[in-house]
């Protein structure tokens, strides 16, 4: 598979949202439900890594649970989404242009 050369050196189907000078380096992982002390919804967020093209909408909309890796792809906090973040999680899922962010149905 060949992609057009990217100015930031990362490879992928489209430029990462973050500019080369503004890469978010790996920092502390966003805290999951347990760490935040909120009630857990029992529903987890997942990324379909094939569909994800690093548009970064989810990182913008849900920084509480999702951060960017050095190439702009989302890293989702493990575990269940806290109840109070469920509306924001749904919004992030709906905003993903490639439908790559998934909220597991209730068990």
């Amino acid at each position: 598979m060949s992609h057009a050369a990217r100015t930031d050196g990362a490879r992928g189907p489209r430029p990462a949202r973050t500019a080369a000078g503004d890469r978010r380096m790996p920092g502390p992982a966003p805290r999951g439900a347990a760490a935040r002390g909120g009630a857990a919804s029992g529903r987890a967020l997942r990324v379909n890594p094939i569909a994800c093209e690093a548009h970064g909408m989810c990182i913008e909309l849900l920084p509480e649970l999702i951060r960017a890796d050095p190439w702009g792809y989302p890293i989702v906090a493990p575990g269940s989404v806290p109840d109070d973040l469920l509306p924001l999680a749904r919004r992030a899922v709906a905003a993903c242009p490639t439908l790559a962010l998934l909220l597991d149905p209730e068990k």
Binding site: M1, A10, R11, G12, P26, V47, N48, P49, I50, A51, C52, E53, A54, D69, P70, W71, G72, Y73, I75
Partner: protein, 435 residues
């Protein structure tokens, strides 16, 4: 027919067996005996395979009985029409692990044992179509298998037709969802799960993907029963490809649980002063030679030690090679094998290969090691398949096993051994841009 220890079970001495010789040696496959009074053979093959504790021999080591039952259950319950529910069996004979030779040898020497396994598994899960995945450039082996399949069709001994499926030679092409994508007319690339193959696989049907050695074991368990299978070793017998610095590299059928040192002795002992062992192939891990010798050749024991059994691979690394350079070489190969579908793999694996080249051939400074360790965390479990996870585990084991070399390189620069050509196989691979 068998030696004192009951081995070999899978690969008969002498040339490949014709269907008639095969039946004379093993007896006919107990097909069409589902529900028969005989509790061991055919009566309930899935229960028998579960009781045998047979695990998949393609690398992941998933319990074969559980997989059979999941597909059989899905096939019974899926879809309103019988035609939609009928399962599919995909036998995996691609052997994409470069250091493995056992599947090719098994298919060449005991084709009918594998084909029996396919037929028995098809009957057990209710499959109406079967595929045997083989490398597209398998050449002579492909022709021989086509002849064996034709021989069985004339004899009318199989419940479902078997079709050869040519598979491109790439590391991820024989991952189970990639095989299914290929059978469905798509590219040989992994797909996102769920749906898992047992739910919706080839032709949208419940699909059993099983390594050819696993199927050969199933063919024997169907005949001789779970107790017979468990009678040898801690988990039956298994085919192990031994290579590297040994006198007689090759495929050995052993009782699982045999100490690594004994298997190395069986392969003629070291041909040069050994320093480390790679167990499990490129999704496995490095172990210091002295530590590896007393470990049992079994997946649980090798995993506990930080490696794996994978598809049955042991490579002995001689003292004359540089473990860091070998690891950089394999990491570079694995990065080249990314299907290019998932961002963390597409970006992370080349970055990991680059930092390893830096550690092996440049300066093994602390920053390089720290960045390598961060990259391991950034790629693991973030792809659709296990390529990033396996690569991360492999590199992680190298950073542990070759810690002394890392220190040496950091003090006095790359050792003289890095100039030696890498000994680990990487088909079609050459170094990319120098680090």
């Amino acid at each position: 027919m068998t030696t004192a220890t009951g081995l070999p079970r899978l690969i008969p001495p002498g040339g490949p067996l014709s269907l008639a010789d095969h039946v004379a040696r093993y007896g006919p496959a107990p097909l069409g005996e589902q529900g028969g009074a005989d509790g061991t053979a055919g009566g309930d093959l899935i229960s028998e395979v579960e009781r045998a504790g047979l695990t998949g021999r393609g690398g992941a080591g998933f319990p074969a009985g559980r997989k059979l039952r999941a597909v059989a259950t899905a096939a019974r319950t899926a879809g309103p029409l019988r035609s939609q529910a009928a399962a599919v069996v995909v036998a995996n004979g691609c052997e994409s692990e470069p250091a493995s030779a056992k599947d090719g040898l098994l298919l060449a020497r005991a084709p009918h044992l594998v084909l029996d396994g396919i037929a028995l598994a098809a009957e057990a899960v209710g499959a109406t179509r079967c595929y045997l995945g083989l490398h597209a450039d398998a050449g002579e082996l492909g022709l021989r298998l086509a002849a064996a399949i034709a021989e069985r069709e004339r004899a009318g001994c199989d419940p479902a037709p078997v079709q050869l499926q040519p598979v491109p030679r790439s590391y991820v092409a024989s991952q189970e969802t990639a095989l299914i994508s290929l059978v469905n007319g798509g590219p040989a690339k992994p797909t996102f799960v769920p749906p898992r193959p047992f739910q919706k696989g080839a032709h949208g049907r419940p699909t059993l993907v099983q390594n050819v050695e696993t199927l050969a074991h199933i063919a024997l368990i169907a005949r001789f029963g779970a107790d017979w299978f468990r009678d040898v070793g801690s988990a039956g017998s298994g085919l192990i490809t031994v290579s590297g610095a040994v006198q007689r590299p090759g495929v050995y059928e052993i009782a699982i649980g045999m100490p690594v040192g004994e298997l190395v002795r069986r392969a003629g002992g070291p041909s040069q002063q050994p320093q480390a062992i790679l167990a499990g192939g490129y999704f496995g891990g490095w172990l210091p030679y002295a530590q590896a010798l007393d470990l049992p050749v079994s997946d649980p024991a090798l995993r506990a030690a930080g490696a794996a059994l994978g598809p049955g691979i042991l490579v002995v690394l001689p003292e004359s090679a540089c473990g860091l350079a070998e690891t950089a070489w394999v990491a570079d190969y694995l990065a080249s094998q990314s299907a290019g579908q998932c961002g963390p793999c597409l970006n992370g694996l080349p970055a990991l290969a680059d930092v390893l080249k830096h550690l092996a051939f440049g300066r093994a400074d602390g920053r390089g090691v720290t960045w390598a360790q961060q990259l391991l965390g950034l790629v693991a479990r973030r792809g659709a398949c296990h390529l990033p996870d396996g690569t991360a585990a492999f590199v992680d084991s190298a950073l542990r096993t070759f810690a002394a070399e890392l220190h040496q390189h950091s003090v006095s620069g790359p050792c003289a051994r890095v100039r030696r050509r890498p000994t680990l196989p990487a088909p079609g691979h050459s170094w990319g841009a120098p680090a």
